[in-house]
Amino acid sequence: MTQPNRLPSGLTDRSRMLNFTWNGRALQGHPGDTLAAALLANGERFVARSFKYHRPRGVFSAGPEEPSALVQLRNGAAQEPNTRATVAELFDGLVATSQNHRGSLEGDLLALNDWLAPFLSAGFYYKTFMWPKRFWETVYEPFIRASAGLGRLSMEPDPDHYDHGYLHCDLLVIGAGPAGLTAALEAGRAGARVILADEDFLPGGRLNAETHEVGGMAGSGWAAQAVAELAAMDNVRLMTRTTVYGAFDHGIYGALERATDHLAGSGGKPRQVLWRLYTRRALLTAGATERSVAFRNNDRPGVMLAGAVRTYVNRFGVAPGQRVAVLTNNDDGWRTATDLQAAGIHVSALIDTRAGTPDIPGLRIETNAAVRRTRGRRGIGQITLTNGAVIDADCLAVAGGWSPNLHLTCHQRGRPEWRDDLAAFVPGRDLPPGMSVAGAANGALTLHAAMKEAQEKTVTLLQEMGFEPTGAVLPKASDEPASITPFWHVKGKGRAWVDLQNDVTAKDIYQSQREAFRSVELLKRYTTLGMATDQGKTANVLGLAILAEAAGQPIPDTGTTIFRPPYTPVPIGAFAGRARGKDFRPVRLTPSHKWAQEQGATFVETGMWMRAQWFARPGEKGWRDSVDREVQMTRKSVGICDVTTLGKIDIQGRDAAEFLNRVYANGFAKLPVGKVRYGIMLREDGICYDDGTTARLTETHFVMTTTTANAVVVFRNLEFARQCLWPDLDVHLISTTDGWAQFAVAGPNSRALLSKVVDDLDLSNEAFPFMACSECTVFGGTPARLFRISFSGELAYEIAVPARFGDSMIRALMEVGREFDAVPYGTEALGVMRIEKGHFAGNELTGQTTAAMLGIGMMVSSKKDSIGATLSRREEMSRDDDLRLVGFHPVDKSSELNAGAHFLTRGDPADMAHDQGWMTSVAWSPELGHSIGMGFLKRGKERMGETVRAYDPVRGKDTLVTVTSAHHIDPEGARQRG
């Protein structure tokens, strides 16, 4: 149970042990470790398999750029594939396993791919697997898919939950390294509202990884002191474990906070919170990412970025190897060697690709040299230099230079610019508006320069926003040398890896250049360079440099690649937040919902609403029994249905009538007070999109109903007409959909029932005829509105009371209705009765329907200009041979009809050219005792009595039907007027 590579130094808490398991083996680490640090401390070098060739891979970096050390974290439903061991915070009881191998990690059967590598070069799959044709889906692709991919989902619902949040600030500082801390201090002291976000659990950035001094103390100590000062400021919010993953329009940033990921369990709190940050200004101080050098077998476990080696030694107190060699093309390499020496680790050699490196006592230095190749099984053991020297090493620290973390500067399509002196891309000029960049992220790669630039830029931003900067004196910071001479690629035999995760080699890049995939974008797509989970953070610039080398042109002429959000991958669950399961969307309930539940109603989703579909009674064997009974009882006596979901819009104003006259296709100007009129609404393109009734309560006050589905859209369109088309009409709109509990009371006894409900209103046919309306009171004083309208075709009313009385009202109505055997009915019975009656509804109003198709073309008034009237008259929309809404009976009355069947003229072939329309709605009519339907049929009105085929091959049916009127019962409308 020892940690063979643990050093006495570092910032982790040695007083406490954390137990974890790796591939089932029990290991230990300390608070403050990442999983990668703990694995290295335990001597685990070989931790993963690469994507394509299944090569052994180890920890390569110490941050989010990690291409290799991806693991599966946790287990069961919480199993989380592709987790970077380099950022996963160690907790007690952590369970991690390796991924992307068949059999054990060490004995991966798919390592065979590596032997086939010569035949699996860039784009090989585009050139083969074409014969025999059916083998692609049956043989080749399943094999490819099984060996590709990386980790595995548990296939169980994510057991954790997620939250969203919104924060507002003056200045967002992205990254709490030396530059970010400097900026946040300056802005915080000036009184600005500051958010300082850092992806790490320990703020300080490279200050925690290096041995620099700031203000006369260790850099990590200065960082802790700065954090303490910031924490004491009310106007500063320090967010650790929070990655700003994207820069969106107008100063909106996305951030992911890993709220409880570092704990063994979430304790019922959200696992992660996805923040939307609204900022006036943002300062990107995200530091820089180191890159590698391409040489043969530079991918073996033990080959690491030099900066990461320093991080493990200085921050985590872990020796990544016992005999470490260092390869460098810049001054960072020396620091790696001296830090290792200071920690008592043997440095095998410092290999500098440049000349003129000064001596470091006790250190073997090879100048003008590079690594030609590495050797070793499951990890390096030896390296061979270009000068022929062979050196033993179990770890090779590679310092290939630093690339500024400018990702967020590209999220609005900004293009980086190349700087020769840094051999790196720096943020371009077209930054997202409001964003500035400082420190290493902007190419200020040394400590003092980074802090200085951060302070200067912060002062500018504060002044832009009207704050008075304090201009505090910067602490003295050690400013290390940072010169670089670019060195990218050791040419020669074998494979030199560029993209470690996707196994893209320098040869692949050369081949792609040869095959004319010369744009960097084509290169990426052809070779998959930079397309892996790390998005090429360590690979892209190296790949571009090798492409430039292959093309024989400078890097800036070869191109740049930009980065897209997110900066690091974000769980889909976090983006979804709470919106999942039953909480996916809000639920709207009608005022009688509770009562309907008590009655054993079955409910159905109707948009956001839950509506009673039918009310089963004891002894009923299926839903049809219930629905038939509800229809029959309604038509025989009286039925009651909650129709609250219909949109209701209160329309008031001196010009309300004129307004309605323009938004309805039929006339409304002359609707008398106390009357209701049916209206159809067209879109401006002439299509009939909604219908409903509007009642005139007073000269200036109307109440409009819309369909349930279109309530929001109609309101929006009315507001458009009111504000944009006729801005001086005096008309005012307010939605009252939720305000009124509205019940349809339908059937021959509806008048008798309501007479016992409504106070002091004469309901006789003379006093309150079909399409009458009135404000009234019910049950001794409760305010109500009564409308005599009918969707069922029966004598019917709709009665509305304020929603707070809805529950009481339905109970009272049923109580009063007992003497009439009143039944409640649901949406199914409602549908049956409207189909029996020939009323069209949502299935007919598809958004493709003209008034002519519905048989109400005459309603579109030509005497006035209303929305959609002009375009409704276009030739192809008013053709006589077009579809018309008609009814259908099955020839064999025992046949059941199906909506969605297409009509064919008998004798015609079944093909698209002979399609005659389709069945829109069907029902089993209890009144008629057989199935009925309605639908659109070409020249339908002329074909009454004709027998056509209702062709329904997807359900294996082909039924002969007779064309009838859509009004299956009471076509004259006597019942509803009686």
Binding site: D249, H250, I252, Q723, C724, A869, T870, L871
Partner: protein, 95 residues
């Protein structure tokens, strides 16, 4: 995106519903002789510029106002936000 509402100040565009080209304010007269052609062009044809675009947004989850927003379709930069009712009046629309 953020829309700086002329009455309410900056609001997340998620509160709004987009309609399209502000030319939709200029609805033709349906009783005019050329109504068919005029409505065809009004309803269907668009300049669709790459650059400054005047467009209609509706503050559905706010104060229900229709706004005319001048926004660059290449950069999303918003340079002007007006109440559509005011714009309509300026264009001579009335009753």
């Amino acid at each position: 995106m953020i829309i700086n509402h002329p009455l309410l100040g900056p609001r997340d565009a998620a509160e709004f519903v987009y309609l399209g080209d502000a030319g939709l304010i200029g609805r033709p007269d349906g009783m005019a002789d050329n109504a068919a052609d005029a409505f065809h062009d009004y309803t269907y044809l668009r300049d669709n510029p790459a650059g400054e675009h005047r467009e209609l947004w509706y503050h559905e989850q706010g104060d229900r106002s229709w706004l005319v927003i001048t926004r660059n379709t290449l950069t999303h930069d918003i340079t002007r936000v007006e109440l559509a009712r005011d714009v309509a009046r300026t264009q001579g629309r009335s009753r």
